[in-house]
């Protein structure tokens, strides 16, 4: 989300996750509190004996307060499931947020590697190494026939989910998005519209990921998602060109108004913020807004979320106070544009 990396005007991030379970314990739904603690201890101990422990932090999620957990969730370092569940659970964090390892999520281990922009192959390489390191100290539930065994049969085999987050505002604006995705669904690639067409508030973000995990190699699954993304980027670029050539003035007006609202509002919800930030992001990428940089916009998407705002303020805030604080924060960072880029 730092706004660099290949195709970062359209691709927000690439993400790879692996599901793994320890052979000597039942899956999570049948774990006793004692089992959960034993799993967390086994993983912690394994980690301590690896070189990787020097640069990572083991966080006991059960001991964190609501706000800290939500904060980690907003940064996508932990999942909703890990945030909400009860009992011993943990996350191992890389200070640069290039990977995180969740312990006692839906599976005993959920490893994820994140990368700015489109770079799935190097994300997989890093993931493979991370997995090798842990596997040298832990025994995973595995059979030759079905591969890595997971709590949900939808993840069995490789346990791999490859996903790419795309910003596709022009495909949405030109009403082509459904058509494009219907074609994708036929080739077993899942698309989730995060804020879809027809809604009042939309961020125009879509996540592309593999639907199957069994029967293909990890690189095969990576390739499958990888081959779809350039086509989507191409469609989105064409749609942007079309918008500019057909109605540059309307588009310019539209994105400038969005920026205007973000700069001047006194109270603003996170949905509304996302809706207008999405427009601004497209405006910047098309050269219609010149004095805002993409890393600033990407940062605002994250920092205007509820837990981030409260962390930035250093205290708990009610919804109304958050809306006021969010408006202040946006104003500060969008009106002092050039200074905020490096923060």
């Amino acid at each position: 989300m730092r706004g660099h990396g290949p195709e970062s005007d359209i691709v927000m991030s690439s993400r790879i996750r692996l599901a793994r379970n320890l052979a000597e314990f039942p899956f999570i739904r049948k774990c006793t509190p004692k089992d959960r603690t034993a799993i967390a201890t086994a993983v912690h101990r394994a980690l301590d004996s690896l070189p990787l422990s020097a640069d990572t932090e083991y966080v006991d999620v059960a001991k964190l307060g609501d706000l800290d957990r939500q904060f980690l969730m907003e940064r996508q370092l932990i999942s909703h499931e890990l945030n909400e569940s009860q009992g011993a659970r943990a996350v191992i964090l890389d200070p640069k947020e290039r990977f995180s390892i969740m312990v006692n999520e839906e599976d005993h281990l959920r490893l994820q590697v994140m990368q700015s922009g489109l770079d799935l192959e190097s994300a997989w390489k890093r993931m493979d190494q991370l997995d090798d390191q842990l596997e040298s100290k832990l025994t995973y539930a595995f059979t030759k026939r079905l591969g890595y065994l997971t709590a949900c049969p939808t993840n069995v085999g490789t346990g791999l989910r490859v996903s790419v987050m795309l910003h596709l505002p022009a495909l949405v604006a030109t009403k082509q998005i459904d058509k494009v995705f219907r074609a994708l669904n036929k080739i077993n690639v899942a698309v989730r519209g995060l804020f879809g067409e027809g809604s009042q508030f939309m961020g125009d973000f879509y996540q592309i990921s593999n639907q199957t995990t069994l029967g293909k190699s990890e690189l095969g699954l990576v390739a499958k998602v990888q081959e779809v993304v350039p086509r989507l980027i191409e469609y989105e670029r064409r749609a942007r060109d079309f918008l500019v050539s057909e109605s540059r003035q309307d588009l310019h007006d539209n994105v400038s108004r969005a920026l205007g609202i973000l700069c001047t509002a006194k109270k603003i919800s996170s949905e509304e913020t996302m809706h207008y930030l999405s427009k601004v992001r497209m405006g910047v990428n098309l050269g219609l807004i010149e004095d805002v940089k993409i890393p600033t916009v990407n940062k605002l998407f994250i920092h205007t979320q509820p837990a981030h705002l409260q962390k930035l303020c250093g205290r708990k805030l009610s919804v109304t106070d958050r809306n006021i604080e969010r408006a202040n924060y946006l104003q500060l960072h969008l009106s002092k544009r050039s200074e905020s880029e490096n923060n």
Partner: protein, 198 residues
């Protein structure tokens, strides 16, 4: 408009494009939208799985067969196939063995494949059969100790340590079968590493 899952106003309107029946629109409040959006890739695995199961069962199974499947129970974790159908989550790795016949058509439905062709761990001792065998031997050893049959207990202890010490090369399905055979018709004190002579 109200949220589909609670009484709060729906402020998020999400179009789910992955449904096989075509795009589905969801109307959710902020809290439920966050829950929905933070799941990873498969929006609602449990519900997706439930509908797959329902579809599959309707097509391929009559009520009688279904009742038989549902009653099957895993000897290790104790969940029944019905429990799995309800929650969409398995109870332990051995469920893949215990419910093999019922899971296979489901796996074909989900993945269009039945064989893993990806990464293989260096340490392959994590097979559920091996775990199952270890558990069996340990409980047999406990029983032997209780009835003060120390000869059997020590034989079982040796078997356990043999399995525990084995690396992946010697823990294969063949070795498991030999071990099982030995249990049935062999009174030898030691574990036979060589295949039985036919």
């Amino acid at each position: 408009m109200k949220c589909q899952h609670c009484e709060k106003p729906a402020t998020f309107h999400i179009t789910e494009l992955t449904e096989p029946s075509g795009p589905t629109v969801l109307h959710l409040c902020e809290e439920h939208a966050r829950t929905f959006l933070s799941s990873d890739g498969t929006a609602t695995p449990a519900s997706a799985l439930a509908s797959l199961l329902a579809k599959q069962l309707k097509m391929e199974k009559v009520a009688e067969e279904l009742a038989i499947s549902d009653k099957k129970t895993c000897p290790i974790c104790g969940i029944s196939f019905a429990d799995f159908r309800k929650g969409g989550r398995l109870g332990c790795a051995y469920d893949y063995v215990a419910f093999e016949d019922d899971l296979e058509p489901l796996l074909v439905n989900i993945h269009g494949a039945l064989a893993h062709t990806g990464k293989v761990p260096t340490n392959q001792s994590g097979s559920p059969e091996r775990q199952h065998r270890l558990m069996q031997l340990k409980s047999e050893m406990k029983e032997a100790i209780t009835r003060e049959d120390y000869e059997s207990a020590s034989r079982l202890r040796d078997k356990i340590s043999k399995i525990e010490l084995d690396d992946e090369s010697s823990w294969t399905d063949d070795a498991l079968e030999e071990d099982m055979d030995e249990d049935q018709d062999d009174e030898d004190d030691t574990f036979q590493a060589d295949p039985p002579i036919v």
